[in-house]
């Protein structure tokens, strides 16, 4: 099987290590992966800021960049949700584009969802003797209904003990994180407290945006706990996003 990787702008620009891990895991699972060069950002920041016209332009740009018929794998629940749910809605009054958006939505999968539901993979022979906390990110969990998939993959890691952390928002929320910093901070602190109380040694998740907020907070408070994208753990990388 062959897939195209939609890496997301954050992985591309801030956490290329996550993207490499995704490619490595998919390769090990017997999938050929390629990187469509036209891709940039899915447009979610513009949509969330209320700039629908800009969001529509980036949706069209991404439709073009991912025009090949291959399945699209996205290492982010949030950006997958944008493509799957918001593209058809943004392009609702452009029949031709809407049809393309629907077809793209149908062949777009979040990373863990693709591995478990499409490739039927559960064990990637990774091993990591740590207590790992799984942070269910909001758009992955509530937007896509993906929860058991990452948990199953984490449980397949040799020596790891997995704890699902409470599915409460970490306070990132895109622009929200700088627009309402006081509230974002309270929500982050609550998340950090849950992590502290749970005694986990590493936080895993499927969205680098949330993990960036959480690891940013862990680092600032001097905690030794780090965050990793699920793909990094499956690829046997050390703890930490970067």
């Amino acid at each position: 099987m062959r897939i195209q990787l939609f890496a997301t702008c954050l992985v591309d620009s801030l956490f290329p290590e996550v993207g490499e891990a995704v490619v490595e895991v998919l390769t090990r699972a017997g999938v050929e992966t390629w990187f469509p060069p036209g891709q940039t950002c899915c447009g979610q920041p513009a949509l969330n800021a209320g700039s629908r016209a800009e969001a529509r332009r980036l949706a069209l740009h991404t439709l073009e960049a991912l025009a090949a018929e291959d399945v699209v794998v996205v290492p982010s629940g949030s950006c997958s949700q944008m493509i799957r749910h918001h593209y058809p809605e943004l392009l609702a009054d452009q029949p031709e584009e809407l049809e393309r958006a629907r077809r793209l939505a149908d062949r777009t999968f979040e990373f863990s969802e693709f591995l478990v539901d499409q490739l039927l993979v559960a064990d990637l022979e990774a091993s990591l003797p740590l207590v790992i906390g799984y942070h269910p990110s909001c758009h992955l969990l509530r937007g896509l209904g993906v929860d058991r998939q990452p948990l199953r993959l984490l449980e397949g890691i040799d020596g790891a003990s997995i704890e699902r952390l409470s599915p409460e928002c970490c306070g990132f929320g895109g622009l929200f994180s700088v627009e309402m910093p006081e509230i974002s901070r309270e929500m982050l602190e609550r998340t950090l407290e849950r992590i502290r109380n749970s005694g986990v040694e590493l936080v895993a998740g499927c969205d680098v945006s949330c993990l960036m907020q959480i690891e940013g907070g862990l680092r600032r408070t001097g905690s030794p706990v780090r965050c990793s994208h699920l793909a990094q753990l499956l690829a046997g990388r050390e703890a930490g996003l970067k």
Binding site: G19, W34, T40, A65, E89, C169, F172, E182, I183, E215
Partner: protein
């Protein structure tokens, strides 16, 4: 405008007591909701049905309103329609004046908060007294409700007690039970003397003209039963088509609001007092209010009109949990408030509230009718003139529309980042608008080698066939079990006991003995009772007469003796009634007020004794409606579903019983 919300949220965050109360609310209410839903395996299916019921109404509003209006007329309810708040207030005031009233007692209604009814009445010299405990507290303090279900959410027990001491000169300590007792005696006098009662309406039923009121304390029943005039105020969108639809909504509303399987009292009202009825208002009015709703029904925000005001999204929202209700500066706060306020009261004034969300979706998950609140918030953001960081977004989008520009921007960011990085890979201080990020968290360094350069050579391989996809997985609904009659009565008993009620099982022949015995156990000196409408009550009343035990069969007179006789009935400590039906799933007893079947014994005394026959125990409300209940319900003027004693948790979630209605409910279950 964002600043105003942010400013108020900042103050809320700096107030440790408020934070404690908000945490308590979020934790307790969410836990209760989840536990309540675990006991309802068909919840998913019910929510789907509830959603389509509400959609049916909101998208066909005029037809349902017409049907509802003609049924109300059949039932003798006087209908007034108000286009906006000013008209609603004028109509309410007209009714109040026509009855020469200078006092009204109100039960909780967010719509009357929305309309500013109290202020309009006060301005005309009419005193309006809130009788829901939380509303009463908030009114005493001259504040606005902090939550649509729990108005005094923001106050500690100590603050509430202090309010009673300073505002009313009450002598009490910082104790919810004592506050309760104080409120019971003060407001009882209001219930008995007020010439007009005003309530909201939780649901109207179009096909039958039913007004459904859901309360826990019993104040709603008092206000809709005791005064000679009852004015119900309802938003035009709060309809459901049929009684069966109502049964669906009633399974969800209390579970999502407070985690109860049912509220203590659900009243189904079909008109004023009829000839032969022992009590009830001689006149019932319904003021049906639009106030922007029909306009909203034509917009993308129409979905927000599906809301049944359970408050569940407020309890689930992480932003509400930090900022509290008052930060929203609107009668409707929290996630749904951030949609309803701009839709009803203006984008200009309230559009900024849509920024107060991370779009985490906890609200939608917590919504009984699945309102896509994140989607609606996005829509408000799109229509609002307030566009935070608009230039930045436009610049970013321009960059992102070209992979070349994007690559250059990555290079520039990486270069800039290297100048700022203090720790390897993470930056502790960012400049300009990004400084807010690094005030309390580190930011990752932009990579000098982004993924696109690392994977530059990974291009699309040669043509391949299109892969076949696995279908996306869906979870099937759980089957619903049916109970045998024995299991039904067992379940009834168990559920009622959970609610704090008592159940005494006895055989037909010993029932009268047990009931009379219970009166002596309770130390009662008088009994407020139904008449001898069925064999057990007949025997009981006969026995009491032989023993010279005083029995009062209430019949409220019209005119000046009204208050005196109500006061007299109110002094009797024990009430005795039969029941029309009972429901196993919620431990509910059904009573309807009619000749010799007064509702007062179930409302005024400290203790309510009810005789229920096991053959009348149905699995649930829906089952009873199907088995003939529907026709029965529509023929009554005032029917009430009673589930346990009167209760409240308005003060710091402390559950106390007997706030306005009976403290004790004892059911004699006749096998």
């Amino acid at each position: 405008m964002t600043l105003a919300f942010r400013q108020r949220a900042r103050r809320a965050i700096a107030d440790p007591q408020l934070q404690r109360l908000l945490d308590q609310n979020a934790d307790a209410r969410q836990r209760a909701r989840m536990e309540a839903l675990q006991e309802l395996p068909e919840a998913g299916d019910l929510r789907q049905r509830a959603r389509s019921i509400r959609q049916q109404v909101v998208f066909g509003l005029e037809a349902y309103l017409e049907l509802f209006g003609s049924r109300l007329a059949d039932n003798g309810v006087q209908l007034r329609r108000a286009a906006d708040a000013a008209e609603a207030n004028r109509l309410i005031l007209e009714i109040v004046r026509s009855h020469k009233a200078n006092l009204v007692a109100k039960s909780k209604s967010m719509l009357t908060e929305e309309l500013g009814v109290n202020a309009a009445l006060e301005a005309a010299g009419v005193r309006a007294i809130e009788t829901d405990l939380g509303e009463y507290i908030v009114q005493l303090r001259g504040e606005k409700p902090a939550h649509i279900m729990t108005p005094a959410l923001h106050l500690s027990t100590e603050q509430v007690a202090e309010t009673f001491r300073s505002q009313l000169g009450a002598v009490l300590s910082d104790d919810a039970e004592q506050i309760n007792a104080e409120v019971r005696s003060r407001l009882r006098e209001v219930f008995l003397t007020t010439p007009v009662g005003i309530t909201g309406v939780n649901f109207g039923v179009a096909e039958t003209g039913t007004l459904c009121l859901v309360t826990n304390e019993g104040n709603g029943r008092m206000v809709a039963t005791l005064p000679p005039v009852h004015i119900a105020v309802m938003g035009i969108e709060r309809l459901v088509p049929t009684l069966d639809d109502l049964a669906v909504m009633l399974q969800l509303l209390p579970r999502f609001a407070t985690g109860q399987s049912i509220s203590s009292y659900v009243s189904l009202i079909h008109g004023p007092r009829r000839p032969g009825d022992p009590e009830g208002p001689a006149e019932r009015y319904l003021v049906l209010v639009d106030n922007g709703r029909s306009r909203v029904a034509e917009t993308a925000a129409a979905e927000a009109l599906l809301c049944i005001r359970c408050g569940s999204c407020l309890n689930a929202c992480p932003i509400f949990r930090e900022a509290g209700g008052h930060a929203y500066d609107s009668v409707y706060s929290g996630p749904i408030g951030s949609v309803l306020s701009p839709a009803l009261f203006g984008l200009q004034k309230y559009g900024h509230l849509a920024q107060a969300s991370t779009l985490c979706g906890a609200c939608m998950e917590a919504c009984p009718v699945g309102i896509d609140i994140p989607g609606l918030l996005l829509d408000v953001r799109a229509r609002s003139e307030l566009k935070p960081l608009e230039r930045g977004i436009r610049l970013f989008s321009w960059v992102a529309k070209s992979p070349t520009r994007f690559r250059w921007a990555q290079r520039a960011a990486a270069l800039g980042g290297r100048l700022l990085a203090r720790r390897a890979g993470w930056i502790t201080q960012l400049p300009g608008p990004f400084a807010e990020w690094t005030r309390f968290r580190d930011f990752p360094q932009f990579s000098t080698r982004p993924l696109r350069s690392r994977l530059r050579k990974v291009r699309r391989p040669a043509a391949d066939r299109r892969p076949e996809l696995e279908p996306r997985v869906e979870t099937p609904a759980a089957p619903v079990e049916t109970l045998t009659p024995g299991q039904r009565t067992d379940q009834f008993e168990a559920r009622l006991k959970d609610l704090g009620g008592e159940v005494i099982r006895c055989a037909e022949l010993e029932a009268a003995d047990r009931i009379v015995g219970q009166l002596y156990v309770l130390g009662a000196s008088r009994l407020l009772s139904w008449g001898p409408v069925e064999p057990i009550l007949f025997t009981v009343l006969q026995r009491l007469e032989q023993e010279g035990f005083p029995v009062v069969l209430p019949e409220v007179p019209d005119g000046p003796q009204r208050t005196q006789s109500l006061r007299d009935f109110g002094e009797v400590q024990v009430g005795l009634t039969g029941a029309v039906a009972a429901f196993a799933d919620t431990g509910t007893v059904v009573l309807s007020g009619s000749s010799r079947r007064s509702l007062l014994p179930s409302l005024l005394p400290e203790t309510h004794l009810a005789v229920v026959r096991s053959k009348d125990v149905y699995p649930d409300l829906a089952g009873w409606l199907t088995a003939g209940g529907s026709g029965y319900v529509a023929g009554t003027s005032n029917l009430v579903l009673i589930s346990g004693p009167s209760r409240t948790a308005d003060i710091e979630m402390t559950l106390t019983v007997g706030v306005h209605g009976p403290r004790q409910l004892v059911v004699f279950l006749i096998e």
